[in-house]
């Protein structure tokens, strides 16, 4: 998928992921830590698109997380975190994958877990640098590791779904009929 359909699909997916993340999943949360669906969408898209699109998508997704209520931290922290996730995953996927079709299922889950660790850590570290808010390091680690476990679990579903969305070719089935 390329061009405008890809952009529209990306926006809709991010919006759905954000809404599910703040409304439905808090009911399943373990001590308030929920699966970071928005981050997993960025990882899934980064696996099958180019690094440039993945970085921009990470930027947009992070901005959404920073500005949509109930966010209350210094805006820009999730933007930086997801931008890094999009770039790193996109770069690695681009460099180590013979651009043939979809990545394996195992790779998707590993990428989801890795992306989660990088994203949550970057966010936590910017929090330490900006002292916003003042949280102990042990607690940071607890949150990062819990989020890692949750995200690895959610990556089983979310990353393959995103990969499927971004690799399908719109209109392929109808194209022969038009000719």
């Amino acid at each position: 998928m390329r061009g405008t359909p890809r952009l529209v699909a990306a926006l809709l997916t991010l919006l759905t992921a954000l809404l599910l993340q703040v409304t439905v999943f808090p009911h399943l949360a373990w001590n308030g830590v929920v699966p970071d669906l928005v981050l997993l969408v960025v990882v899934g898209a980064a696996l099958v698109t180019d690094p440039r699109f993945a970085t921009l998508l990470g930027f947009g997704a992070g901005l959404l997380l920073d500005l949509a209520p109930p966010a209350d931290h210094v805006a820009g922290r999730w933007t930086l975190a997801l931008l890094v996730v999009g770039y790193v995953v996109g770069r690695l996927a681009h460099d180590h994958q013979a651009l043939t079709g979809r990545p394996s299922y195992g790779l998707m889950v590993v990428a989801g877990a890795g992306g989660s660790f990088v994203g949550t850590s970057v966010f936590a570290l910017t929090g330490v640098l900006l002292r916003d808010p003042v949280v102990e390091v042990g607690q940071l680690l607890e949150v990062v590791l819990t989020a890692l476990a949750w995200d690895a679990l959610a990556a089983l579903v979310v990353v393959p779904a995103t990969v499927w969305l971004f690799t399908r070719e719109p209109g392929r089935r109808t194209a022969p009929a038009l000719r």
Partner: protein, 174 residues
């Protein structure tokens, strides 16, 4: 002003905030007090026309004035931002000689500075652990009455529109 919690911020953001389904159209403004039937929930930090963001009492950036109910000792109740179910608030008393005992109730000051005047409300109970800080002051871990993981219906203290109760008790009609 009743409202429902419609969105909860993830703990990955290291802050404890929720969104409620009432905003500036319903008369909400930043710094208003949010309660539920268990006690103090938090404070409004930002409003849109139909939603408002509430910083919960357990947020690490939250600090409210509190006092011990039975001996009126003043102090501050601060969120620890901790994930677990125990010791989620810190109580620090101004009087260094007073050590909070287990089982005492903590209420918040009636917020006179906030708009509008909010009633004093109970916020926490039972100091569970007391640890000495520097300068001989004590910090006690206290339990909030409100179950912050199961928030649903909350109330926001808004002006009734009929008048403002002044400090001396008289009512000024606007």
């Amino acid at each position: 002003m009743p409202a429902r919690v419609v969105a909860v911020g993830p703990a990955q953001s290291f802050s404890h905030t929720v969104t409620i389904d009432a905003g500036s159209d319903a008369g909400l403004r930043p710094d208003m007090t949010v309660l539920n039937d268990d006690g103090l929930v938090g404070r409004v930090t930002a409003v849109t026309s139909h939603t408002a963001t509430v910083r919960l009492l357990v947020d690490p950036g939250s600090e409210v004035g509190g006092r011990i109910g039975d001996n009126m000792e003043l102090g501050f109740v601060k969120g620890r931002g901790e994930l677990g179910d125990d010791g989620r608030l810190d109580l620090q008393l101004i009087d260094r000689g007073v050590v909070p005992r287990q089982g005492q109730e903590v209420v918040t000051w009636g917020a006179r500075a906030a708009r509008p005047t909010s009633p004093a409300c109970r916020s926490a109970r039972s100091p569970t652990s007391t640890s000495p800080l520097r300068d001989g002051t004590y910090r006690a871990g206290v339990e909030p009455y409100v179950d912050f993981t199961a928030l649903d219906l909350v109330g926001v203290v808004v002006p009734s529109g009929e008048g403002v109760i002044e400090v001396d008790g008289s009512v000024r009609i606007r």
